[in-house]
Structures are given as C-alpha cells and as structure tokens.
C-alpha cells in the first residue's frame, strides 16, 4: 500500500532493461564477428550502429524531452568536420573525437536556444531552418569544409602501435559506441534527470512550477543529445571515408528522427529497433531503386496511420491495455 519509492522504482525499471540490454550488447558485439566474412554487410552493420547511437541521442531530445531538433545531423556534421580538420592538422583521432563531440554539444546548446522560447512543433520548424543554415554554412565556409566538394580519403584512426583501426576492430568500436550510447540513455532516463526531462516533455510550465529548472535541463538535454550526435559524426567520417554537406543535411536529420518516431519515441528500445530496421534499408533495397522512395514513403504513412506511437509504442500500449487493472481498494477512512 505504501507508495513505491524512487529507489524501488529505479531498480524495478532497471531490471526491466537488463535483459534486453544484455541481448542487445551480445548482438551488437557478435554482429561484426558474424559478418566479418563479408565486408559489405559488416559495413552496413557498422553504419547501423552509428545510427543506433544517433537515434538514441535524438530519442533523448525528442522522446524524453519533447524537443524535435531537425538540425541533429548538422550537429553531427560540426563534429565530423572538426575531427577531420584536427586530424588533418596532425591531431590523433582519439584526441580529436572528444573535441569534436564537445564542439557539437556547444553548438547544440547554442542552436537549441530557440527551444527556450518556442514550444513543440514551432521549435521543430525553426530547427528545420537552422539545419538549412548549417548546411549552407558547410557549403559557404569552404576554406574549412571544402564546400560541397566534400573531403575524401579521410584517414582511418590509428590503434595503439600505429596500426590503422580498420575492418573488424572499427566495427567493434562502433558496436561499443552504440551499446554505451544505449546504456547512457538508460542511466539518464532512470535517473532523476530523466524524470525532470519527462516532466518538461509533458508540460514544461508545470515542470517549472514544481521547481524544475526548465531552461537548465533543456540545455543539459541538448548538451547530451548533441554529444551523441557528435560522437556519431566523429566516428562516421573515417568509417565512410568521405564527408560533404550532403552527408549531414536535413534529409539525414529527418531520417534519424524517423527512426525514433518509427520505433517508438520515449522508449529505450523503440528507436534502437527503428534504427536497425531503417538504417540498412537504403543499402539493402539497392535493386529496387526506382520504387525505393515510394516504398519508404508508404512505410512511413503505414506506421503513422496504424501505429502512431511507433513499433514499441504500439506494442507497449496494447500490452498496457490488456493488463489486468491495477486498482487497489482505497483504505476506508472515516468521513468528515
């Protein structure tokens, strides 16, 4: 009868994620080995891992904080360009990565400022325009970014001993990044920080009234979410070997967001599933290129019509509805 405490709540929910997390980690680390015979499928899996990381970051912002930042890919791009620039001037990739990720985070905070004044979808439209400006910036400041030509032959990061990080080793690094990203997200969501963010998502005015520093926590969400974008962007550049403004344009932002919406915003695993299903799609549908966009569009519409809360959301909601009522009879108390 006693209200469940924060702590009990935490352990209960953490337990709820323990098994899927273990499964995910096993799959994530096993995949590169299983696919090591085929560099192409391994590559597609690697790109998917980066998207899982990105989707988790987007999920923190969109799913848990209620902000829909369509400049997410732009932030990844800021990090990627920073890292490529720094490594070209002699930095080690592993030193450049945190700097790039930090650059993305700081940019995320600055570009996220409109979210303090703009609510809901208004901010989304604004971020769409911000993304456009960022893309224009990548093209315009060609001294730093090489414009729309892009930068090719990005060297692979080196491992210890001067060996380049390639093949299986790189894939494992990406798997680790995805797994760590998901773990970080779980920890955040289960912490009081997560509770504050959810409160802001649900009703930021009410959250402020309850003593939650809405401005501060939105900025923290942007900082962390952009960090996901940044780490992903930094790892993406040498993995693909090429970056250009088109690698981080609005369509990529929308794609990442779609993975979250498709999988189920505000759930840990929905966006992971979304990324696993959608990220490889464009690689695997290669032969159906004429109808690929159409199929993709139909898929989007089908999901929004049939499962508006995403795959995980649709599944969870059904489960919730079919669960027996949790009502406990009220303690009888004397009437006044």
């Amino acid at each position: 009868m006693t209200p469940v405490t924060e702590k009990k709540d935490l352990s209960l929910l953490a337990k709820g994620h323990g098994l899927p997390l273990a499964c995910f980690a096993v799959v994530a680390f096993a995949t590169p080995f299983l696919l090591s015979g085929n560099r192409y499928f391994a590559f597609v899996a690697g790109v998917t891992m980066i998207h899982i990381l990105w989707a988790s970051g987007m999920n923190l912002l969109y799913g848990y904080t209620g902000l829909m930042p369509l400049m997410f890919a732009g932030l990844a791009g800021i990090s990627a360009y920073t890292v490529v620039g720094l490594t070209a001037s002699g930095w080690s990739f592993w030193l450049a990565l945190p700097v790039g990720a930090l650059a993305a985070s700081i940019s995320g905070i600055i570009l996220g400022l409109p979210s303090l004044r703009l609510k809901g979808f208004y901010f989304t439209l604004c971020s769409l325009v911000i993304q456009t400006v960022v893309t224009l910036g990548f093209i315009y400041f060609s001294g730093l970014t090489n414009g729309d030509t892009g930068i090719s032959q990005i060297p692979l990061p080196s491992m210890g001993g001067g060996q380049p990080l390639s093949g299986l080793a790189y894939d494992l690094v990406l798997s680790a990044a995805a797994v760590i990203g998901v773990i970080v997200l779980i920890v955040i969501v289960k912490s009081t920080l997560g509770r504050r963010l959810i409160a802001i998502r649900e009703d930021d005015e009410l959250a402020g009234m309850l003593g939650i520093n809405v401005t501060g926590y939105k900025m923290i969400a942007f900082f962390i979410g952009s960090l996901f974008a940044g780490v992903g962007g930094a790892l993406y550049a040498p993995y693909i070997g090429f970056i250009s403004p088109r690698s981080f344009d609005v369509l990529i932002s929308m794609n990442i967001w779609l993975m979250v919406a498709f999988g189920g915003r505000g759930t840990i695993w929905g966006p992971v599933i979304g990324a696993i299903l959608l990220a490889p799609l464009s690689f695997l549908l290669q032969e159906y290129y004429t109808v690929k966009d159409i199929l993709y569009g139909l898929l989007i519409i089908a999901v929004i019509v049939l499962m508006p809360a995403g795959i995980a959301g649709g599944f969870l909601r059904k489960k919730k509805e079919s669960a027996p009522p949790l009502d406990v009879p009220a303690t009888p108390r004397g009437a006044k």
Partner: protein
Amino acid sequence: MTHRKSLLAVLATATLASAGIGHAQEKPPVKIGFVTELTGAWSFFGTSCVAGLKMAEKTLNPPGKRKIEFVIADDQTSPAQAVAASRSLDVQDKVLALSGPTSSDTGLAVYGYAEQNKVPFVVPVAAFPQLTKPGTRYTFRLEPDAVGWGYAISKFVEKQKPGGKIAMIYSDYALMRAITAGIKYQAPRSGLKIVADIAFPQGSNDATVQAAQILAATPDFVMVSGAGGFDNTITNQLLDLGIKPEQIIHPFGITTQVMNWGKRSVGSYYGTFFDSNLDSLTPEGKTFVEEFTAQYDRPPSYGENFCYVTANVIREVIDANPEAADDREKFRDAMSALKTKEKTSGIPIEFDKNGARMEYMYFLQMKEVTAKTYKAKQAFYIEWDPEVIPVYTLVK
C-alpha cells in the same frame, strides 16, 4: 606521357586480341561496378550516362571475346551511399574496377574508396580536379577537369576578342567554382579583364538583379553556369535585359540544356567534349548519334558519349591485356599505359601519371533549334596538358 607499355598496348589492340579467344569462352565475365545517380538530385545525369553505356553494351560483347558485364548500382546522389555501393560492388560482386559517378561529390567519395582499397576507378563524367590530384594511382578520368575548362574559356575569349572583358555569373557549386577558378587564373595571363563575378547560393530562383549588375559592367562576354533549371533562368534573364546571345558562353552544354535555351539563345556559345554537331565525328560516332537519337528522342551529349567510350576503353584494355581481366593491378597498369582514340570522335585518350587525360575542349555556337534537335557550329577547339595551369592548387 610516355609509358613502358604504351607501344605494347597499341599493338595489342590490333594483334593480340585474337590470341585470347580460345580461353575467353571458359572464363567468367569481367565485372565492372557502375556506381551512378539513378535517384536523387543528379538522377538525370546518371540515367543519361547509363543510357550511353547501354548503347555501348549492344556491341560490347561480340562472340569469342571475354564477356564484360556492368553491374549498375544507385548511389542516390549521396556520397555515403556511393561509398556503400562501391563497397558492395567490391566485396559482394568482386568487380574488376569501378566506374560511373557523374557528380563531383559522389565521384570523390568513390575515388576515396578506390584509392584506399586499390580498386581501379574509371571516371566517365566528373570534372572535379581532385579526382586526379598528384599521388592518384587507381583513378583514370575521361572528362577534362573543370579548372581546365576555365583555362579553355579564357583562351577562347582571348581569340574572339583580345583584351576583352568577361563577366561570370554562376551557381555556387564545386563544379562552377572550379571553372571560375580556372578563368580567374588564366584571364590576366590572356590579357582579359574580369568585370563581374556573381555566385548564387544553391536554391536561388531569380537572377534579374544580378543580370542588371552584369549589364552595368558592360562585359564583352558573360560566362553563365547555373545549376539545373536555374541555368536557364539566368540565361533568359540576361537576354531579357539586353545581353546579346553572342556575348554568352556556357562552359558546358548538354542536349536538354541547349534545347531549353531555345531559339532566343541562337548565337550563343557553349563548351563541350562531344556533340552531335561536331565536324570530326567518326562513322561509329555518327551511328552512335543516330541510334541514340532514335531510341531516346534526343541527340546524345558528352555525358552519354563518355559513358559509351568508357565501356569501349575497358573492352580495349582487356582485349589487349587478357591478364588484366582478372587482376586489378594489371588492369591499372594497362589503363595507365593506354594510348588510344575515342571511337566516336577520334580524340586521343591517354592518361598522365595522375590519371588525368590529355585535355581538350570544343566551343560551339548555337545555330538553330527545332522541335527535337538543334544545330551548332564549331567555333573553337583547344588541347592542353592537364597541368598547363596549377589546377590542383587552384582548387582544393
């Protein structure tokens, strides 16, 4: 430009090809990966290129020769997809070489993959200089580089009007920036003056004001190069304001563009590397133009031609060097040593140490536009060594 095997290669074309016949039939086909733009912003160029390739495929595999098979993959006009497609073709299909992209950024993306993974890469149409930058080993490009086009335009203007004034109006794309870099470098050396330099951001719609600025600068020639539909908008708005067609130079003109410039542009000039109106078309070139026109309802341009020629070049190299059909290094060496001519126009093809071609450009003047075709007349032709100007330092 001299290579150990160049002589051998030429001889091989004529003599050694027949030697391989006996074995060829038992061997699996030689696969060439063709990564190109079938969807996305550049899909027209990719599709046109494939159309040229298909024309070549009709006669590419006569009985008795080792079969060459092109595996076509869509890169969605996205560099990341281009890399993925290259990897897929390399790993899954085990292609001998890559080819295909028609845009600079997808081209550079494939270039990075090819050079890093030692896969020969034959570029039909992508003009960005960095594709053949010093140190390039596996990449060979048929199209002259865009900085060179700028050089050629300056040379053309120098000949038309010594001491002339050039204005430049173009979309802010890598390709256009490269062209203007070449003009800017060469113009003073050719005694020309640049009087206006206007770049439009991607996604611009209207050029009237800028056309008025051009008009105010009273140039002798205007170099016009917009992206997509905007190219035509700029051209029309310049003409609207009273710039004469004879003053307009388009750095490149493909069939749909020339048709869209239309009757009012008759008299204007455009650069090209192959055109149905060339005087120098070979009999095979004429057949190519006729058959292509019959099938696609428009004459082919240089894009289709380069893709057509690419297939023929690969045929020629494999015929001359049967051992190159199954060995990437040998194929690379054979490409590097190649000394041949475009079957359609007779223009020589040979590559320098970086895989850049001995370059050339035609300038044609529009003479007539009809419903389905157009007439143009050769006004200027120039050949140059790819490094006659410092292309690789002008554009990074």
